[in-house]
């Protein structure tokens, strides 16, 4: 049986590992490379790194914390892939085929594409033709509008698209995406659990795997994403950073709920 996957998602901003909340607030967690050993010890199923650096941010470096910024995502990737023998996904700021090539050639197995896919859906097709569908994850950021409708946002969650996530996920699948990474902007950093309704709608609409993200605050939220949301994989950021023995406890909770995960 194919196992359900448990995936820590690490957000990088200007080379720092950060905690994210509602896509707006980012708390510094440390140097990305120094943390690699820790991730390796987690024995999780995959790792996803997303570079959320935007051009208009200021440098959050603080000398008193003695953490050094890694300004180049590719340096981080090289360091990570040296010791992490598990699937690695690198996303964020991917605008061209060359950007994908730079990551894949340094040890990334997959990339996530978000803004560029919205701006040019043909990019999904082109990228999946060159690297294979399995390497192209379309990342979808969703926010509820005032009318309480789900809507896809891009550009770090700042710009509305007018697209419904179900519609966009189907389109992405049709164009060659291998997986969908579904993140809820409303739930980001909230610890309230996944937006199960959203996860289920998208999971049921496509035949490619859906990775749920956004909102995990307790271990039971992971199993809810799979059992109630029909997700194929469950991802989270903060809980892995702030909770001791998080992967072991998450796995235990999933098994207790009858979810088939890797032992």
């Amino acid at each position: 049986m194919l196992k359900k996957r448990l995936i820590p998602c690490l957000f990088l901003k200007n080379g720092f590992l950060v905690r994210s909340e509602k896509f707006e607030y980012h708390q510094l967690l440390g140097n990305a490379i120094h943390q690699v050993e820790r991730f390796n010890a987690w024995e999780v199923d995959e790792l996803i790194y997303i570079d959320i650096t935007s051009d208009d941010v200021y440098d959050i470096r603080r000398d008193d914390l003695k953490v050094k910024s890694e300004d180049n995502i590719l340096t981080i990737l090289e360091a990570v892939s040296k010791t992490c023998f598990m699937p690695l996904t690198f996303g964020g700021r991917i605008r061209s085929i060359q950007d994908i090539h730079d990551r894949v050639s340094r040890g990334a197995d997959k990339v996530t594409v978000n803004t560029q896919a919205i701006l040019d859906p043909g990019f999904i097709t082109e990228a999946s033709k060159i690297f294979g569908s399995q390497a192209i994850i379309v990342s979808i950021d969703v926010k509820s509008t005032k009318q309480e409708e789900y809507e896809v946002f891009y550009n770090h969650g700042k710009t509305a698209t007018g697209l419904h996530p179900v519609e966009w996920a189907r389109e992405a699948e049709k164009r060659g995406a291998g997986e969908i990474f579904l993140n809820s902007i409303d739930r980001d950093g909230s610890a309230e659990g996944y937006d199960i309704e959203l996860v289920r709608q998208v999971s049921d609409a496509v035949r490619i795997p859906v990775i749920a993200c956004g909102g995990v605050g307790q271990f039971k939220h992971f199993s809810q994403g799979i059992v109630d949301g029909n997700a194929d994989a469950v991802a989270a950021g903060n809980i892995f950073h702030f909770t001791e023995l998080s992967t072991k406890r998450a796995r235990k909770e999933l098994i207790k709920s009858g979810v088939d995960v890797r032992n």
Binding site: F85, R106, Q134
Partner: protein
Amino acid sequence: MSDSDVNSCASGPRVVIIDYKLGNVRSVANALEAVGATVEISSNPDTLKNAEALILPGVGAFEDGMNNLRTLGLVELLNELVLVQKKPILGICLGMQLMAKTGFENGIHTGLGWLDAEVVRFDFTGEISHLKVPHVGWNDVRFVKESPLSGELNAPHSYYFVHSYYMRCADTTDVAGVCEYGHEFTVALQRDNICGVQFHPEKSQKHGLALMKSFLTEAHQLVEAVC
């Protein structure tokens, strides 16, 4: 005996990852280095000839894989090294699939043809039509015969997969390991010096590293026996 032969007997396993511009060569090299191999990534004929063992990696489409091997002039060289000289080779994912006679990914394409096999797409209908393609993630592998790939028989471990096509072997004695997704299918094969795995040992943490080590150990012993 040439100098290079002498060197190969003295050092640890020297592996060459065949660089045909497709695939995650860096990850494969990292994993091989982690289990003690000396690794080169190359498409240079002399380098390939001097290797103790070859790795044919690959992430991508069947047709592109064969085209790149042809463009680099590697098909005949590999036939000579693998079929005549019996150099140990491990194909990974697409690298394994290319060892088949025919691939049915986006048309019908001729493969290296080292094994009587074809590569077909998962096609799930009826009760299993809900199964998603690609088959991506961790799944249990059951080894069905002794080979350099199998640590312990009948003790399934999970390995990481990501593929939409799978290999169908006409000769079941080539099958070294199987996995279940919709139906049982071949995920590890071995015939003489030729080994292949559909999953990614370089991404399968400790069990993947153990498999690579086992393959290398066997390959190294072969070379030592010749010396």
